[in-house]
Structure formats: structure tokens, C-alpha cells
Amino acid sequence: MRRNDVRARNHPAYWAFVVHRVSGVALALFLPVHFWALGQSLQGAAQFDAFLAWTVLPAVKFAEWGIVVLLAAHLGGGLRVLALEFLPWRDWQKTLAAAAAAVALAMGLAFALAL
């Protein structure tokens, strides 16, 4: 990437795009695993508990926190995209990006504090 390209991209709307895309890819990869894990409940409570026991490991807890933040970030970024495309107020771009970040952090904090 040329230096000028980097400078041209270094603005809040570009970073909002990057966060939205990266969080989206991560969630798409996480979803099949999440569904498979919840599907373990079909095998009975014992099998489901065996899986839940694994989720108390600190590394897994940290990953869960990350996924919750990514979900909230993707939600915030997605609301921003919908607002940009369907509402007329484009001057609010930066405010929306900031609001998206704030929503993501607030959700992550709420999740982390409840653990």
C-alpha cells in the first residue's frame, strides 16, 4: 500500500469500516461453532454440562468476552451503515462511529462485570 493510500484511509469512517468487516468475519466463523455447541443440549443436560465446564477456563472466558464485544461492535457498525444509507444526515458520520464504539465497549463491560 502506498504511503498516500494509508493517509487517505486514516480517518474514522475507514476505521469504522475495518471494525465492521473484521468483526463480521469473526462472527461468521464463530457462528457454526456456537450453534454446534448449543446443539450439544440435544444429547442431554450431562453432555451440555460437559461443554459448559470447558467455558469456565480463563482463556475461553476471554474469548467469549471478545465475541460479545465483536457482536456489539458489528451491531453498532451495522446501525451506522443503515443510518448512512437510509437517513439523510451524513454529517453525523463521526458521531455515529463514536456511538458504535461506545455501545460495543459498554456491552463488553457489562458482560465482563457479570462474570
Binding site: 468487516r21 463480521g24 468475519v25 462472527l27 461468521a28 457462528l31 457454526p32 456456537h34 450453534f35 454446534w36 455447541a37 448449543l38 446443539g39 450439544q40 443440549s41 440435544l42 443436560a45 450431562a46 451440555f48 454440562d49 459448559l52 467455558t55 469456565v56 460479545v68 457482536l71 456489539a72 458489528h74 451491531l75 451495522g78 446501525l79 451503515v81 443503515l82 444509507e85 437510509f86 456491552m107 457489562a110 458482560f111 457479570a114 462474570l115
Partner: protein, 112 residues
């Protein structure tokens, strides 16, 4: 893909996003409440099993996600990996189907 097809995917992506916005807000709230005091199968399933509202809500959530995620990945695969054409669409169609099947199986397991 035809222009009409691309337009349809764009519309499906936005429509599913609008549904998901509501679902994700409810889901995040549910997560925060559910993890209070730790998680156990008996506690979770005792609350969820037999809930028709939960079943319908999460079935809707799964279908919207199964529509939304592959369309989002489609743009990403095209722009980042240069993967375009019919093979990409077939692969993502299978991914969508897989998500729907795994997701609905999970919903039936938790709420059925």
C-alpha cells in the same frame, strides 16, 4: 451474477440487518442476564425448554443470520481474496444452508 441478483442480495442484506439489529439487542441483554451467577445446563434448559416465544424468536434470529452472514462474506471474499464467480456463490449457498441447519438444530435443542 446479474445486476438484478446483486440488487436482491443488497436488499436481503439490509432487510436481514434490520431484523438482526433487534435480535442482537435482545440477545446481548439475554447474555448479560443469563451469565449472572454462572451457567449450568439445568439452569439454562430449565428456563428455556418449552418456551414457544424463545423458540420463535431464536428461529427468526438464526434464519436472519444464515441470510446475512454469507452475503457479508461474499463481499469480503471478493474484495480481500479475489474469489468471485459461481464457485464463490455455491460455497456460500452451502455455508448459508449449514448455518440454518446447525442453528435450527441448536434452537430445537435449547427451546424444544
Amino acid at each position: 451474477m446479474s445486476v438484478r441478483g446483486e440488487s436482491m442480495l443488497w436488499l436481503l442484506q439490509r432487510a436481514s440487518a434490520a431484523v438482526l439489529a433487534v435480535c442482537v439487542l435482545v440477545h446481548l441483554g439475554t447474555i448479560v442476564v443469563a451469565v449472572q451467577g454462572g451457567l449450568s445446563a439445568a439452569e439454562i434448559l430449565g428456563r428455556t425448554r418449552g418456551s414457544v416465544v424463545g423458540l420463535l424468536f431464536y428461529a427468526t434470529f438464526v434464519i436472519a443470520a444464515a441470510v446475512h452472514a454469507p452475503i457479508g462474506l461474499r463481499a469480503t471474499l471478493g474484495e480481500w481474496l479475489g474469489w468471485r464467480g459461481a464457485s464463490r456463490d455455491v460455497a456460500l449457498g452451502l455455508f448459508a444452508l449449514g448455518l440454518a441447519v446447525l442453528g435450527l438444530r441448536a434452537v430445537i435443542g435449547v427451546f424444544g
